[in-house]
Amino acid sequence: MTDVQLSSEPLDISSCIEKATDPTCGGMNVFIGTIRNKTQNRKVIRLEYESYIPMAIKEMHKIADDIFQKWDVKNIVIHHRTGILKTGDTAVVIVVSAPHREAAFEACRYAIDTLKQTVPIWKKEVFEDGEVWVSAHA
């Protein structure tokens, strides 16, 4: 089962876990990405996320499809926020459940690492004295 979503509302971690719960699975790995209060010692006021929604959904499905090819995994849930987030808010939740834990750990890590490289989502960090589109410049 794959469930991918982009949401302008706060993410519901329990509901993500519930969706991936499966009696055939002996392990479930949860990754929660949250907003850090500092970047290189500059205080972060807020982050603004935006997405190219149809392509982002497509790319998240590709990640799930790749995982099903590579690992014995039963369920993949990927929910990502858009809009304005503050320190401590949840930006992304990934849940992977599998019959055995090794696959769940590895696939979950693959999901977040690949998401950061391929899914068209962008964040702007807003500081007290300026703002920057993250990763835009080398």
């Binding site: 997405s51 190219y52 497509k58 490289q117 899914v119 068209p120 589109w133 993250v134 990763s135 835009a136």
Partner: protein, 79 residues
């Protein structure tokens, strides 16, 4: 005329979320990038950028046809 969708920092370059540009008929992605780089030199200062055609990452040699949805994808930073 081709409509380009802009996201992230590229919206700042274009001063908006879309830009219409004139290109030869059925251009390749490479031709689009060259035109973009010359119209907006800031593009070349990005760590990298990609072109998406109909919601898929495109290669330089891919041809753009009328009606295709074209988006400029600056470095992504989800998560």
């Amino acid at each position: 005329m081709i409509r380009l969708l802009a996201f992230g920092i590229v919206k700042d370059f274009f001063h908006g979320s879309a830009l219409d540009i004139e290109l030869p008929k059925n251009p390749t992605v490479d031709i689009l990038k060259k035109e973009l780089n010359s119209l907006y030199p800031e593009m070349q200062k990005l760590a990298s950028y990609m072109i998406a055609v109909n919601n898929n990452y495109a290669s330089d040699g891919d041809i753009i046809y009328p009606g295709d949805e074209i988006a400029i994808i600056p470095p992504v930073s989800g998560g």
